[in-house]
Symmetry: D2
């Protein structure tokens, strides 16, 4: 079994730019979080990690999404995990929707993988399992759930409502 | 959606018994690891955590397995994750095999959840996704893989061979 | 023994502002890191935590430094630890130099305390020990060293030279 | 500045012996915790790490303590940090008491350094600062305090009383 992990950016990969800015208030997209996570998961599958874009998902342009599409399309294997900022996952999923010969799972994190309390390991675990278990199609794994991408806006809205009510 | 997490013990739940033994060389089974992990996973599903046994899996008796079986059997929901020591997962899976109206996923960890480099969060993520995605049956989620329990011995053997060759 | 920990901001306290900005690229100063660290240090001393400013140290104004000075000055105890951004520690130390009836230790971190690989716990440990062990005066604890503040610029320069040479 | 860190064993260095025992209930003493901690502390001092013994401190024999004594005695530098199990630190300190030309700081941890919530980084930070700041003599750094070894039994008793009262 071979899984391709594609980095697009987003919170999961945000790192602290020590010494590289004047102020140090700004995060930057670092190396793909999966490269930290997979070595500790005793993975019995082959994988490759591909960097497509390194952006906060609010900054992804149509051209970036085209690049992501081409990157997915060009893979010879049919199990693809995409790490992505949580804000515009659905937009990217929509672009990928026409790819029907692969299982594509988008995931990300609410806190950077570098944080002690990050959900990154949990979410990459969810995506890794889903990409093995689900039929071809485009899915989003977040908030402890794995759903076909079209169901994600409702899930996201329910999450926001729950978070606000706290 | 409601998921029941059943604790049986194993490495994933091992904690350091500070002050409670003379020597402090021995681990003990602590509170279920899922209770540490799920609050950080922004879970948009209901769940309950049930303690069945608190043992290293090599110490599980036939009676313990009967108790685990009864605990699973008695749940009204059909999505069950069991955290379990890795050594005898297959034996427990075999006992659960006759339960055909639920999706049952056994998982565990190679290092205690308390460890910074533990695979626990990743594995609980895998199990959480699998229990949503897979049809009724008994599965094992470990080594980055989710497989029907009967396929696990071959996977485990492959893992051992790979670990030895390092 | 009573130690007062004064928060001024800086990397050590930077947190990820989940959901609070449009882009999420920017850090913000969170709750004082010592409030996360001290509960895990089995501390057998009394302490209080005072928030003076919550800024990156490059943004501290003369007025902020006056406030920090007044905050230190007004403490009835003579053991003061100040968490501070690393960039302008010396400037603040200089302002505090005229306070001669207290042991004042400035510390901070190269990576936010929330990061798994942060030096925050180590540095707060250094500051806690120093503030107990050293005579009245103003010190800086960073880079594994505790030095009178006037010696810090040379230490910082040596660190930068070493970091660059890697 | 050069600091020698001497490993004797104890909780701070306990690791999970994955796959190396039948049951996996037992910890074992791993590599010195300082070797994990110092690389993340941006240390601007030279150091060496020496393994004297690898034992729970309740198992240290008179001969072990003689070996520790000889190891300290033979160092050419005068700043020595000893990581040690917390149970019998005082006994070892007493043996070292006759060494009057060095600053010797014993420290350890209540939870293994591998644990996410360990006090190891904090305590190694305390010891590192103390060994720089204090005059020759034998000290113990634990419970957020650094004290001459003869004062430790009272501190330890106070800690136990406080822990029990919770």
């Amino acid at each position: 079994m071979h899984i391709v992990f594609i980095q697009t950016g987003g919170t999961i990969d945000k790192d602290y730019p020590r010494g590289e800015t004047d102020h140090g208030y700004e995060f930057q997209i670092g190396v793909p979080a999966v490269q930290s996570i997979l070595p500790y998961s005793y993975a019995m599958f082959d994988y490759s990690v591909v960097e497509a874009t390194k952006k906060d998902s609010l900054d992804l342009t149509d051209e970036d999404r085209k690049l992501i599409y081409e990157t997915v399309k060009s893979q010879s294997v049919d199990r693809i995990v995409i790490t992505h900022g949580t804000d515009t996952m659905v937009k990217t999923a929509e672009v990928l929707n026409s790819i029907t010969d692969k299982t594509i799972v988008l995931t990300g994190a609410m806190l950077p993988e570098k944080f002690m309390t990050s959900d990154a390991r949990f979410n990459i675990g969810m995506a890794t399992a889903s990409v093995q278990a689900l039929p071809h199609g485009v899915y989003i794994a977040l908030y402890g759930r794995v759903v076909p991408w079209k169901e994600f806006p409702a899930l996201h809205q329910a999450y926001e409502a729950k978070a606000l009510s706290k």
